[in-house]
């Protein structure tokens, strides 16, 4: 078993161990051990990639260069391969996921109800996520994609709060619509290329060598982009996100908003734009406009929310809009900004949801109006929350800023295919979100943490425990490290952007 | 006798069987009707063996399988019936509608 296979299946193996655990208390330790091991493996993989892979990539690459490739024929007759590989973009995403699942396990330290199944499902889900990020065969990609999406139904439906069945059903059904679109798109990609060349294959790089006819691209691109866009909360297909996040248990919200929504942006960049450059050129402006709506709409929507989780969910809609915006700008900085934003938003929103879970565990309410003055009672949690908030409004020193300026910078350099005036107007509109974000973040957080303590019951609440400090500390540190010294992350992903870019020219 | 006559016979038997399944209220009657259909099939095997591939015996072999299967099926079917009868004191299939909606 190669390194990447281990990276993908380690969570699954951990899940098996979790299921086999004889004592309830051991479960979370096994899960923590497994994810901790995964973190170490990720570090090793990153080291290997940086020391070997990164050097051999160059801005002139026409095809994505993969490393640590594991290629096994699976169904030879129809051209399906077990094809794992890693490049800079997927490396960044794997690091993100590894951090989030580790902290997610820590954040679910107190799950008592059916904890065995809970951790097992969580780990299965994350197996799917790693699979998506590391597989370079469309069939395998789709399979892992489904593995990642489906456990969500159970996780929300069983362990959730509030109208959990409704939210779980809505989320799953909407994502299934997305999957259906993606499947249609994938099959079309497969058959069109196969019919022309005579070689039927799902291999991403082989497909990338085939130039699809323009008429085909002009309908296949929006199909696939919207399919992924649903998971990336593309307006107007975002409504699963507030309900889903609000009902989901802490770790699931973290994983979902932190990682799963990134599958959307990742797929849109890696598959839709990479394979269908002509379609991207044709539809870029349209999706840029939709993403602008996303950004502003989510930000304005967040102002008036009463529930902390809804608040964060709308802010996620706004921030994921930036990812899609970056992808739709179709230039180097836009793509880079999109990947950076995926990373940054993943960590940030993970931190948000972890903190909301911790606060909810104490106050037993998520209503903003029912809280107030919590800063005096729980200084650690409120400081972390403020850091997350400041990161989300794009404060320099945290990773969100780096990503945002990349995305906004992208417009001025524009691209050769779109009306520059339009895209500039859209960017100015999108940039307004930095003000609106400041408004809702400061309003919301101010109401919860500052001022006098509102509810006398809240006066005796405790501050963070050790595990909680570890969880938040890790996420805050990641945000700050990337924000203060972003160059390594940028260098990591930079060269892997070029193949996608070069396909456009 | 031509193959057509034989086929008319089996079609008749089969149709009677279907009619029986769809109309009988007693589960025992339905089982008997199923037997009729199975036997129509078995006869078909033998007939086609004779007219299509006379030098082989696979049709006959298959009809023996069918008879054996029919026996097994009746046995299981009757066992289920007895269990149902014990539970509900009746074998009227029109009253068995717990699957409704």
């Amino acid at each position: 078993m190669g390194l990447l296979s281990l990276l993908v299946f380690l969570p699954f193996i951990t899940a098996l161990f979790v299921m086999a655990a004889p004592i309830q208390k051991q479960i979370r330790w096994i899960a923590l051990f497994g994810t901790g091991l995964h973190l170490i493996l990720t570090a090793i993989t990153t080291y290997k990639y940086v020391s070997v892979g990164l050097l051999s990539t160059s801005p002139e690459d026409k095809l994505t260069k993969l490393f640590l490739v594991e290629k096994i024929d699976w169904f030879t007759s129809i051209g399906i391969q077990y094809n794992l590989g890693v490049d800079g973009i997927s490396m960044a995403m794997v690091i993100l996921t590894s951090i989030i699942i580790f902290t997610g396990v820590l954040a679910s330290w107190n799950v008592e109800n059916r904890s065995k199944e809970f951790f097992a499902l969580l780990l299965v889900l994350v197996t799917g996520v790693f699979g998506v990020f590391l597989s370079f065969d469309l069939f395998l990609f789709f399979m892992f994609y489904e593995v990642a999406v489906l456990p969500m139904y159970l996780l929300i439906g069983v362990w959730g709060t509030g109208p959990k069945e409704y939210s779980a059903m809505k989320l799953t059904l909407m994502l299934m619509v997305g999957s259906a679109l993606i499947l249609v798109g994938f099959l079309a990609l497969y058959f069109i290329a196969g019919a022309k060349t005579g070689i039927y294959t799902f291999d991403l790089n082989s497909l990338a060598q085939f130039n699809y006819p323009k008429e085909f691209q002009s309908w296949a691109f929006p199909t696939i982009f919207v399919g992924f866009g649903i998971l990336g909360a593309l307006y107007p297909f975002h409504t699963w996100s507030p309900d889903g996040h609000a009902s989901a248990p802490t770790a699931v919200s973290m994983l979902h908003a932190g990682v799963l929504m990134k599958l959307g942006g990742y797929g849109a960049l890696r598959i839709a734009v990479y394979l269908l450059p002509e379609g991207a050129k044709e539809w870029g402006l349209f999706f840029m406009a939709l993403a602008t709506i996303n950004i502003l709409y989510g930000a304005f929507g967040a102002i008036k929310q009463k529930d902390l989780k809804f608040f964060t969910a709308y802010s996620s809609v706004s921030h994921c809009g930036l990812v899609l915006f970056g992808v739709a700008t179709l230039n180097f900085m836009g793509f880079k900004g999109a990947v950076l934003q995926m990373f940054s938003h993943g960590i940030m929103t993970g931190l948000f949801f972890a903190l909301i879970g911790m606060i909810y565990g104490r106050t037993h309410t998520r209503m903003i109006s029912e809280m107030g003055g919590l800063g005096q009672v729980m200084p650690w949690l409120s400081t972390s929350f403020y850091i997350a908030g400041l990161a989300s409004l794009g404060l320099p020193g945290f990773s969100g800023f780096i990503a945002e300026v990349h995305v906004f910078m992208a417009w001025f350099f524009g691209n050769a295919w779109h009306s520059i005036v339009f895209s500039r107007v859209l960017t100015i509109l999108a940039a307004m979100s930095i003000v609106v974000t400041a408004v809702y973040v400061l309003r919301g957080l101010g109401k919860v943490f500052l001022g006098p303590v509102q509810d006398p019951h809240h006066e005796n609440l405790t501050d963070a425990t050790i595990t909680e400090k570890l969880t938040t500390g890790m996420l805050v540190a990641t945000l700050a490290i990337v924000g203060v010294y972003p160059l390594p992350l940028i260098k990591l992903i930079e060269n892997s952007i070029y193949p996608i870019l070069n396909r456009l020219h | 006798m031509t193959i057509m006559n034989w086929l008319q016979l089996t079609l008749l038997l089969f149709s009677i069987g279907i009619y029986g399944i769809l109309t009988r209220r007693s589960a025992v009657g339905i089982l008997i009707s199923v037997e009729l259909m199975l036997n129509a099939g078995a006869i078909n095997f033998v007939v086609f063996n004779k007219y299509v591939a006379a030098h082989q015996v696979s049709g006959q072999v298959m009809s023996i399988f069918v008879i054996a299967l029919a026996a097994a099926e009746v046995m299981i079917g009757l066992a289920i019936l007895i269990m149902i009868f014990r539970q509900r004191r009746s074998v009227d299939v029109t009253k068995m509608d717990t699957l409704k909606n």
Binding site: K170, D243, P396, G451 | -
Partner: protein, 636 residues
């Protein structure tokens, strides 16, 4: 040109900003949780090191830069890369104004740290306070030493957030929380303009470095696209936000909710002049954009007059000082606005005034802080007669009042005089406006002086007032000394741009008329407020005479209310709430509708589900027959 000799301090100039940063980490993460006392001491000594380093740097720089000021970038590292052509470095830019700003920031910051040890003694969150102060000082030093506009923006945001944290320091007080929020959001709005301006500049000229932005080819490139004025106006929007120029001034008076030393450091001496500094830093570009520069000049003049008028009616000592800060910032801004490369006196005068203002305004705030500390109120009508009880504070405050009013030989006289001289040539409106503002300034400053220190104590609390602690007095005395001597620095010798300046610049006419205006202001203030018995009555009479105009001014021309109306009544009510509603009802309604219709269709088929095995059988048979015939019809 021969590369200048690098001295040790120049090469290691990053230390000046790095020391407060590391001290911030050290104090914030490791010391604060355990000992408040040590947090204060470590933070203060870090600033002391930083201050010494900045003086060394200034000394070294003066040694090597002869007659013509040089621009050096002794240290810079790559921070991030947009495209290989445009990468952002974090570095230190050394030129006259950045060296000047570094000394000002470190000095005032150090003195405020020292003062705070006394002022904040025993406060809840003492360690947190010093952590924030260090963070602020680091950010401000990073800002002034920026080598490129992007670094400037990064630190610009950081000073914004440290200001937010410090205004909201008393986070249990709703007013402080609201003020912090307001300050952040208003400046954030301005920063939007700044950001877009940066994007336009960077996108058009492909460079972000100050040294290359001033190249003539960059200017001509920007002019070619016709975006020079636009970009600079947008950048000025950012500057106006931070320097609280009209109409973005509303946050500064509210920012006085923070602890008083913070007001002295951030909202008087350093952060708010960042906007002026930004315009000065980009002056080579501004000087090419006549239109943008004219806007700068008029906004500056208007703010200066507008704020001075409001200041005359305020009763809160810190708010009066805040409006006077606004007014003085407007002064600096218009002085920059009237400068050109050919007649650059305004530029020098503006920087000179910035320099002097930092000291005397910090002194005013710290003095006010000492008074507030003693009488526990901000209202000047509840003070009075503190001259005897707080002699040192009184003397230092008086020096500051004279300095800001422009009385010889205190520092304000020299720089104000220079600004007026600069505007005398070809800018009559600005000259007359500046002169009038000088008079009003003298009026309201002496008003608070008379009401606070002279006469008899008007309340119980003020009669029990006592002198501040020695650490606080130390800062006051040092700043008072600065206010006495900085005016004599031959500033134009060090800081100038474009054409070299001739040195004989005291214009007797201007000096006399300026002083005369100041004296008129002080005298009329004396008539109204000075005589201890009738002061309250006389001012009441005047207020009544003015009627509606008075209440209009007193309520700051209702700008807060207008903003409140726009944000809450218009933006929240007509954009945010409808979107939230629209999302829940319409967009989500669409999703639920599709789910609902799917369910209805399902219920339609439900009636076929009888549970009767035989009914299913019938359907099955019918289905088989239909399929058979279909097959027959198509294939057979």
């Amino acid at each position: 040109m021969q590369p200048p000799v690098m001295t040790f301090m120049l090469e290691n100039s990053w230390v000046i900003a790095a020391v407060p940063f590391f001290s911030f980490l050290l104090v914030g993460l490791f010391i604060r949780p355990y000992s408040d006392k040590w947090a204060g001491l470590v933070a203060t000594s870090a600033l002391f090191i930083s201050m010494l380093a900045s003086y060394l740097l200034a000394w070294d720089y003066l040694q090597i830069s002869g007659a013509a000021p040089q621009v050096l970038v002794p240290w810079s590292v790559e921070w991030l890369q947009f495209i290989p052509k445009i990468s952002v470095h974090m570095g230190v830019l050394i030129d006259p104004i950045s060296v000047m700003m570094m000394t000002v920031v470190t000095t005032v910051s150090f003195l405020v740290h020292v003062y705070s040890i006394g002022y904040m003694h025993g406060e809840n969150g003492y360690g947190r306070y010093f952590t924030y102060l260090n963070l602020f000082t680091f950010s401000m030093l990073g800002l002034v030493s920026s080598t490129n506009i992007f670094q400037m923006y990064v630190f610009w945001e950081l000073v914004g957030v440290s200001s937010f944290l410090l205004i909201g320091f008393y986070y249990k007080k709703p007013a402080a929380v609201a003020a912090a929020k307001k300050a952040f959001i208003v400046t954030r709005f301005a920063d939007l303009g700044f950001l877009i301006g940066i994007l336009i500049l960077a996108g058009t000229s492909q460079t972000i470095y100050f040294t290359s932005l001033s190249q003539p080819e960059v200017v001509s490139q920007l002019n070619e696209f016709g975006v020079l004025n636009l970009a600079l106006l947008l950048i000025f929007m950012g500057a106006a936000g931070k320097s609280a120029m009209f109409p973005l001034h509303i946050w500064l008076p509210d920012a006085m909710e923070g602890p008083t030393p913070v007001s002295a450091l951030i909202h008087a001496a350093t952060m708010v002049v960042a906007g002026v500094y930004l315009v000065a830093r980009m002056f080579p570009l501004y000087s090419q954009a006549t239109y943008a520069l004219e806007v700068v000049a008029f906004v500056g003049l208007f703010t200066s007059a507008f704020a001075a008028i409001i200041a005359c009616t305020q009763d809160d000592i810190k708010r009066v000082l805040a409006f006077s800060t606004l007014s003085q910032l407007g002064y600096m801004m218009f002085s920059l606005g009237i400068a050109t490369l050919r007649e650059p006196l305004g530029y020098t005068a503006s920087m000179f005034h910035l320099y002097n203002h930092a000291f005397f305004k910090a002194l005013l705030f710290l003095g006010a802080g000492a008074v507030i500390h003693a009488v526990h109120t901000n209202n000047i009508w509840e003070m009075g007669g503190l001259r005897k009880k707080m002699p040192i504070t009184h003397i230092t405050f008086l020096i500051a009042v004279l300095a800001i009013s422009g009385i010889w030989p205190f520092s304000g006289f020299f720089s104000k005089d220079e600004i007026l001289v600069a505007s005398l040539h070809g800018h009559p409106i600005h000259f007359i406006g500046g002169l009038i503002v000088a008079g009003i300034t003298a009026f309201y400053m002496s008003r608070i002086y008379f009401l606070t220190f002279l006469g008899n104590s008007r309340t119980e609390a003020s009669s029990h007032a006592h002198e501040a602690s020695p650490v606080m007095l130390f800062s006051l005395v040092v700043l008072a000394a600065f206010s006495c001597v900085t005016g004599f620095i031959p500033f134009s010798h060090y800081v100038s741009i474009g054409q070299p300046l001739e040195h004989s610049r005291i214009n007797l006419l201007v000096a006399i008329s300026g002083t005369l205006m100041a004296l008129i202001g002080i005298f009329s203030s004396w008539i109204i407020y000075g005589s201890s018995s009738g002061s309250a009555k006389r001012s009441d009479v005047i207020a009544r005479r003015l009627g509606a105009i008075y209440s209009l001014i007193k309520n700051k021309f209702y700008f807060d209310e207008i903003y409140q109306f726009v944000t809450h009544k218009i933006i929240f009510k007509f954009i945010a709430s409808p979107i939230a509603w629209f999302d829940r009802k319409v967009v989500d309604g669409g999703v639920n509708l599709s789910g609902w219709s799917a369910r209805k269709v399902g219920e339609g088929f439900l009636s076929m589900q009888t549970g009767q095995l035989q009914t299913y059988g019938v359907w099955f048979v019918i289905g088989t027959i239909v399929t058979f015939f279909l097959f027959w019809a198509t294939v057979g």
